[in-house]
């Protein structure tokens, strides 16, 4: 079997697992996630540490299993987040673009429907997100910010737990084949 045949077969198998969503889901869920991040911490300050836009980006990228689709979802969500932050436009954009791409690439190779895999991925992508954002802040904006490893790991775990629950809810919004 040639490489191209093997390649095609692998992708065709994965293609059958691609989840599809209605347009309003793709539009409203990220918007709701961003609204949650800008509004809810007014009353519950600890919820500011919940990165719902990231979780939503990871979910759509994992489920759609399209690296290009994933990176565009990440870029749009990130730029929207940038627009509502005090950062220059592009900080969250670049970060979530990379996350979307990597998540979609992982989704092509792993069974992402298992809760444990989702928990690990949620944790991994949160840490990766924080690390990329920290590196960009230092490298591109020359900000002297410290990377708080312990805090990031704890928050990563909390976000991963929330991600598993949210993924379960978002699974119900998938279009049925």
């Amino acid at each position: 079997m040639r490489y191209s045949d093997e390649h095609s077969l692998m992708y065709s198998q994965r293609d059958t697992q691609i989840s599809r969503f209605k347009a309003w889901v793709l539009l409203l869920v990220p918007l709701a996630a961003i609204l949650f991040q800008v509004y809810i911490p007014l009353f519950f300050q600890f919820l500011a540490y919940l990165e719902l836009p990231l979780i939503v980006t990871v979910y759509f990228a994992l489920m759609r299993r399209s690296p290009i689709g994933g990176l565009f979802v990440g870029a749009l969500v990130g730029l929207a987040q940038d627009s509502l932050s005090k950062n220059p436009l592009g900080m969250f954009g670049i970060t979530k673009t990379i996350i979307g791409y990597v998540a979609a690439s992982v989704g092509l190779r792993l069974d992402v429907d298992h809760p444990l895999i989702r928990l690990i991925l949620g944790f991994f992508f949160f840490v990766l997100h924080q690390f990329i954002f920290w590196a960009l802040s230092r490298g591109l904006l020359a900000q002297q910010v410290a990377f708080e490893t312990q805090r990031t790991l704890v928050l990563g775990l909390l976000n991963a737990i929330v991600a598993v629950s949210l993924f379960h809810f978002l699974d119900k919004l998938k279009e049925r084949a």
Partner: protein, 402 residues
Amino acid sequence: MDTLLSRYRNITVLLLVIFAQMVLLAYQVKNGSDVRLIRVWAVTAVTPFARVIEGARGGTQGFLQNYVFLRDSRAENERMRTELGRLKLENQFLKTELATADRAKALQAFQQRSLSKMIGARIIATATGASASAVFVDRGTTSGIEKGMAVVTPDGIVGKVLAAYPTASQVLLATDPSFAAGVVSQKNHVRGILKGLGHGNCRVDYVQNEEKVETGEWFYTSGDDRLFPKGMPVGQVTAARPGNPFQDINVDPAGLAGGLEEVLIILEGVHQEIPDLKTSSEPVYLAPPLPSTSGNTQPAGDPSASTGGAPNTPTLSTDADRLRTHYQDVSDAQNHKFGDNPVGSKAVNFNLPVNPGDKPAAPKTQAPPAAGAAQPAAQKSKPPADAPAQPQTPPAPKPQAQ
């Protein structure tokens, strides 16, 4: 070539999208400006939702508080009003007091009291990012808000407008590390720069170690930054210790204490005086002056001595005072005014006695007691015999032959 592109299509698109965003980022950083259009779109898309949610929350909360949770207490209140007519007036008074204490009323009262032109705004959202010290308020350019305007509450400063959009504005809080404002301390008028620390507190930078700043002292805006009008309260010093090269001064921002709901945005600022410390106007107890126990403490030229000595007249205590008073008396006795006499006029004779009965002053250490009240005073309380004699007259020039 086509095969190569299709094989690396994903990574190529990824690099292109990242590159485009880096160009966007570099453009903003280099020019120091913002791509406003994208932000306007995002804010205009999100803030109406936030406004609707906030309105629904406020309405629901008000309904629950006014009609569900307080149903029994209101009925009870009605009964009490019926039964206790006397308490009606008191109840009304308390209600008025409560209404005045209400935050919105307080803001309005502050707005009317302040000389600056302000507009009230309600906080509707926070900025994205866990460590973001910025919020959105429901007033935008349509309400006259502009970038850089100061945001305050009656308790103190809150921050400044970072960006103004048609329906909302983004406010950078004073606790953000990128925030800075000129401040001055109330007591010693020490000037410094207020900066956020990223969490609840702020610090005041660029205060020399020699300057005196005390814990509990208030800082006010100095007006130097042309952002906040002078005289707005900033916060109390929680810690002040020497540092390198400047003092480490922590300030608890008063405007951000207790959570924010409503704020005032200063449209046209008017500088005000920094209020004086209350303690400075309070009366301070001073112990009574030392009693003049003997005649030799009373100089010859002392006004209290020559005029009979009013009891409350402060006694002169230094040699310079006594000398000056004596010279003044001598010149008055000879109708001489220092500085007013023409050149060539007769000089004052310091050896002549001030009063007819007086003897000329001599450079003796043990001079006779002066005339007037000094004599009876000396008789009333004689100094101890072994007390050292004090000169009562200044060392006069040597007698001249006339």
